[in-house]
């Protein structure tokens, strides 16, 4: 028997008004009021009384918490819940690229990325000759202990005949460690289905409550992909000097990947906003010349491709982006939503005020240790600086609002747009 079909989603007037408010700000048109929308992650569940460890494990309670906090704080869009991650999936994968609460840390710490050289300096040629084969047989075993038996596979093109597939492929599949891994992979998939099922239900329920989701997809700048995921900061920075051409060739591959995967998820989810968290391009990390040569070309190509497809790139410009403002000014006006962490506000206004909507940036230190009065003054300053064009959306500077923010400060951030932000 077929599953009963859910009735099609009919957006409420409230939902449509929120989308319009957000879209107007992005397009540098004045909405009715300054929108407030946060990329908050663990703050959302903490505010509803869950520890971070619980949020990563108890999917249903996380969904309830998400609805509670979104409605209570009355933000214009719901924060993306995919940022929480499912600890049981990490656990079953034996994922070495993260440490997480309830496993490696206390219950209220966030998960943290473990940066390693998952690809070594002398492995570029192997990777570039055959990226998929390298990732399956070399990198995955390093990234996840459960996937170590993938290292038993022969080069995958060896399996390109019925004879070798039948003899060699099946023999590897039957080897006890490999077979055990395959059984474990089925469990991982089933666990992930639970998590994704919750995410889909939650998205629909939030929409029915009148809250659009900020984003459903993320992409990375190609340099960050190589630096974060493959080579580590140290490795990637040395590659800029020792093997720049190979680094660029690898980044080319991941520029195409970033574009294609973002387009695919945007199409599947129907959500046009793509979150692009940036890491190594901030001021202080590399020179302007290095940024222009290594970092900016791939990121710009990615953002322009998304804009061409009618999507909205939302770079999270973590760190100090003041020195990079002239680059951001190259982008087409009204198409990009820049989430800022640290930046000189007046320079940002002068250099990109007519280019992109400013999103942010109530300092983390203020939200965690300051007072509601300080927060309101800061939001007022943001409105005074950016409000004239309508190109402003309010949020904290980093992590949306940090998980350990004082609730009254976050509430003050929201109240401030109602008090000072009506156009």
């Amino acid at each position: 028997m077929d599953e009963p079909q859910a009735p099609p989603f009919v957006p409420s007037a409230e939902y449509l008004a929120r989308v319009k408010r957000f879209d107007d700000a992005v397009a540098l048109r004045k909405p009715d009021r300054v929108p407030v929308a946060s990329l908050a992650a663990f703050f959302v569940t903490r505010y509803a009384g869950l520890t971070n460890a619980e949020a990563m494990r108890d999917y249903d309670r996380t969904a309830e918490a998400w609805k509670y906090t979104t409605q209570k704080l009355n933000w214009d869009m719901a924060p993306p819940p995919f940022t929480i991650f499912a600890a049981p999936v990490f656990q079953k994968l034996g994922l070495r690229t993260f440490k997480w609460p309830g496993q490696h840390f206390g219950d209220n710490l966030p998960y943290q990325f473990v940066e390693e050289e998952y690809m070594l300096a002398d492995e570029y040629d192997e990777f570039l000759a055959n990226p998929s084969d390298f990732v399956v047989r070399k990198m995955m075993p390093r990234m996840a202990t459960t996937l170590q038996p993938l290292g038993m596979l022969p080069p995958l093109h060896w399996l390109s005949s019925g004879y070798t597939l039948f003899m060699l492929g099946s023999a590897v599949a039957g080897a006890p460690p490999f077979a055990a891994m395959l059984r474990q992979i089925i469990e991982i998939g089933e666990e992930m289905n639970q998590w994704n099922g919750m995410q889909a239900r939650l998205g629909m329920e939030l929409a029915e409550m009148g809250y659009p989701m900020i984003t459903a997809a993320f992409a990375e700048a190609p340099f960050d992909w190589m630096s974060d995921m493959f080579r580590g900061l140290r490795g990637a920075m040395l590659d800029m000097y020792r093997q720049p051409d190979k680094l660029k060739a690898a980044m080319e591959i991941f520029t195409d990947f970033a574009i294609q995967s973002a387009l695919m998820i945007a199409q599947m989810s129907g959500n046009p906003r793509i979150f692009i968290p940036l890491h190594r391009g901030a001021g202080g990390f590399m020179s302007t010349q290095q940024f222009a040569e290594f970092y900016w070309p791939g990121l710009k190509k990615l953002m322009l491709a998304l804009i061409d497809a009618g999507l909205t790139p939302m770079p999270f410009l973590e760190g100090d982006y003041t020195p990079r403002l002239p680059f951001l000014a190259e982008l087409p006006p009204g198409k990009v939503l820049g989430h800022f962490d640290i930046v000189d506000l007046d320079k940002a206004k002068a250099e990109i005020g007519n280019i992109m909507c400013f999103w942010g940036n109530v300092p983390a230190s203020m939200l965690v240790t300051g007072t509601p009065g300080q927060v309101k003054d800061y939001v007022k300053r943001l409105i005074d600086t950016f409000g004239d064009t309508g190109g402003l959306i309010v949020d904290g500077a980093v992590d949306g609002v940090p998980p350990d923010s004082r609730p009254e400060n976050v509430e003050a951030m929201t109240e401030a747009v109602f008090e000072y932000g009506v156009y």
């Binding site: 440490k99 920075m237 040395l238 590399m286 020179s287 290095q290 965690v368 940090p402």
Partner: protein, 208 residues
Amino acid sequence: MSQQLIDAIVEMREEDAQAITQQMLDAGTDPLEVLEACRQAMEIIGQRFESGDCFIPELILAGEMLGQVTEVVKPRLQEQQAGQKKLGTVVIGTVQGDIHDIAKDIVAFMLDINGFAVDDLGVDVPPARFVEAARESGAKVVALSGFLTLAYDPMKDTVSAIKAAGLHDVKVMIGGGQIDAQIQDYTGADAYGRDAMAAVNLAKQWYA
């Protein structure tokens, strides 16, 4: 030759730096002179870092070159290097619960090439370890690193633990992505710094 080695390092010519080092040693140059050239080169790189003319890639590559030179020079040093006199010891680490090491490593490196003995305790360091290390080494400066907002409370706890242990002449500096004057107040630290040279300058000031 010394000047050539300095230029090669400062200009990030890694292969030249190795070749010139070898030539100097083959020509019978005192190994200490080679190391002195390295020290001068690092000083220039530190100044360029401070003035915004070089960045993390250069610090990392300079560190690599320094390591390469030291490796060939060391066997020839025998007894003669009695050990350079250090400006003082700095205990450094990323605070409890935080496993980010990039910024901490850069600060440690800059302190090292600027003449400090650095006691690097690594990441996820509990307050008691900082106290113990400061006590053992007699360090007058402790540097706390943290990338995330979760570092605020462990930094505060570490400052309190140092005070509670009676180490009243120990100064504490803090730094990291979300650290500012407000967090200096919150934690009770003596100072905060936005970058690695700020840490060096604070340490110099506190050891003056």
